[in-house]
Amino acid sequence: MQNLLLLGDEAIAQGAIDGGISGVYAYPGTPSTEITTYIQETTDKREIRSDWSVNEKTAMEAAMGLSYVGKRALVCMKHVGLNVAADAFINAAITGINGGIVVLVADDPSMHSSQNEQDSRFYGKFALIPILEPSNQQEAYDMAYTGFELSEKLGYPILMRITTRLAHSRSGIIRKPQKQQRPISLPTNRKQFILLPAIARQRYSALLAAQSEFEEQANNSLYNEYIDGVNKKMGIIACGLTFNYLMENFPNGCEYPIVKIGQYPLPRKKIERLIDECESILVIEDGYPLVEELLKGYTGKGIQVKGKLDGTLPRQGELNPNNVGQAFGFTLEKDITIPEVVKMRPPSLCKGCGHIDLYESLVKVLKDYPTARVFSDIGCYTLGALPPYTAIDTCLDMGASITMAKGAADGGLHPSVAVIGDSTFTHSGITGLIDCVNDNSNVTIIIVDNETTAMTGGQTSSGTGKLEAICQAVGVDENHIHVCEPLKKNIDYIVQLIKKEISYTGVSVIIPRRECIQTLKRKKK
């Protein structure tokens, strides 16, 4: 029976390992992080290349390089990571691939650990490539296992979309025999990867021509199943994981016909059969109403389509057995709520964290500058937005602290302060810093260096040991680059340091450096 107890993320990792990848390229991001961690922990780096990339774009591009030489590459990221990698991702669909590529993107409906709940299937559709969406851990394994071959067979990258719930849920997995890695074999057509307009037009037209084959694959896919039912008043389309929430409501089998979707583009034949045989359609999908909008069309005429757009299912947040049940009118007799004594318990900075000492210093400084604003970024230090610090004013996307501080300074704000983490700085902060230097913007940039990527669990950070050198190399005056140790006893010193640099007209960088107490604790064990 089942043998390995794995998280959805780990099942994908194991599937990719067994599917013959030569490398995984990824930047951490909840809920995708555990895929790469698993590969790092269970395989030899000389066999499968697995170190963290600087960001999602470098990951996607390096994977394209590995594919270029004929080998299989897995790319992993969270949903917002695909925004960063989008340029490479969309164009990879134009070039096509050589060795198989699966781009695994983990969405986070309900925003458990994210700043939005964008639906990556739109990116797959945008790029015009096939999408896989597993409904359970075994399918996740199987899709990762066969995804590279599918990619090679079609000649295009495959997008695999999961959500938090599957990523972070464990179940038993049955493995398949391990496949060999592919040897080096360079592309036969040397123009394939040169997207000059003349070539790109040909490639794009080939991609358009391939659409019917993608659809044919989807029609014949094991993951797109037509499950007949006796009651044709309604036909159901259940995408990915939502199939389980549906079946949870019908423990003895569902009376309505169902098309279970696990591979896109939609399997037209199966969908048309459902529409022909049923009086109305219910679409159940986690994320945005992608399938629902497709079926409904602009006018909404034709067969009645129910789902998120008409309020049958909630538009926001992840689906679950109960809100899917409500779509069938199943309600609970009693409404039980959380007792009033229960208070919210938001996440907070760990006791002893260096970010606390930095924020205590910064709050002291800011008291003397009522006009100051602090542009921050994404990481543990974003928790500085909460009391007792309430020290930061923004958090937009990775890297935006430095660039927003620059824009605000350009507009006359002073002091304009940026607070950015070390990993976020190398992810997307350096380019913005060059903009600041080139404009001699009047900004005070604080790179909070805990020597790790803490928020996502303590992965290595690309800039560790190199931050001052990087700042100096891009042109920050070395007299305005300072390192300090964020400790209670140093708060007065740090306060003076920040004040001094605020009074300097130009780019200054302060690097409070102290190792994350979580990674420190783990090392001591």
């Binding site: 029976m1 089942q2 107890l5 998280l7 909840t30 809920p31 992080t33 555990e34 458990h112 650990s113 719930r165 599957l166 972070h168 849920s169 464990r170 179940s171 038993g172 994981l241 199939f243 389980n244 929430y245 079946m247 949870e248 679950n320 057995p321 109960n322 049940g325 609970l332 009693k334 039980i336 709520t337 959380i338 007792p339 004594v341 229960v342 208070k343 919210m344 318990r345 938001p346 996440p347 907070s348 900075l349 760990c350 543990c380 928790l383 928020m455 996502t456 669990g457």
Partner: protein, 195 residues
């Protein structure tokens, strides 16, 4: 056989190691299982939970539907209450009675206790104290797991084997300590149940 458990606590308390032990024992018994966990932001001292579903038939949803949990197992009393909408009327709440106060508006302890007692089937235990008696505060999660044993319908030996397997790398001493903690927890809840 089908049992739905909600494990709850505060990020960093170690509910996931309880889930890992039960999961391992369930698989040993050839049961199906699904275990949905919280990773990420909330692990920084926020409220965390795991949904653990074990059955002799295939399981669909990774999430337990409202009012269907057989057991809420919590390392923290207020966190047990957060999942009240999920427990069956006849289900059990087994919880640590020691609060974990990392918020300034933490409610009155007596009010929490009163609320827990409103649910007929409950067991409140001072897990931290027992863990210290066993020999290490860090075994608190195994004490709680022990207290849940009467409700798990999994053989006690299999749970002990799972502990040995999971803590294997940490050495014989740690395994012994954790099993001792498990037994201490189980004894307490059996005493309460037999009253």
């Amino acid at each position: 056989m089908k049992i739905d458990i909600i494990l709850s606590g505060v990020g960093g308390q170690g509910i996931l190691s309880i889930a890992a032990v039960i999961g391992q024992a369930a698989l040993e018994n050839k049961h199906y299982m699904k275990q949905s966990e919280v990773h990420g932001m909330s692990q920084r001292g926020g409220d965390v939970q795991a949904n653990l579903r074990i059955s002799d038939k295939p399981i669909f949803s990774d999430l337990i539907p409202l009012q269907q949990a057989d057991l809420i197992l919590s390392l923290e009393p207020m966190e047990a209450l957060r999942y009240m909408p999920y427990v069956k009327e006849a289900g059990w709440i087994v919880t640590n009675e020691t609060p974990f106060k990392n918020i300034s508006n933490y409610p009155n302890e007596a009010d929490i206790e009163d609320e827990i007692k409103k649910h007929k089937n409950h067991i409140l235990i001072n897990i931290d104290e027992i863990a210290k008696e066993v020999g290490s505060a860090r075994t608190a999660n195994m004490v709680l797991l022990g207290a849940a044993l009467p409700f798990l319908s999994l053989p006690e030996e299999d749970i002990e084997d799972a502990i040995s397997a999971i803590f294997e790398k940490k050495g014989e001493e740690i395994i012994k300590l954790n099993i001792k903690a498990l037994r201490a927890g189980s004894e307490i809840s059996r005493n309460i149940l037999n009253k």
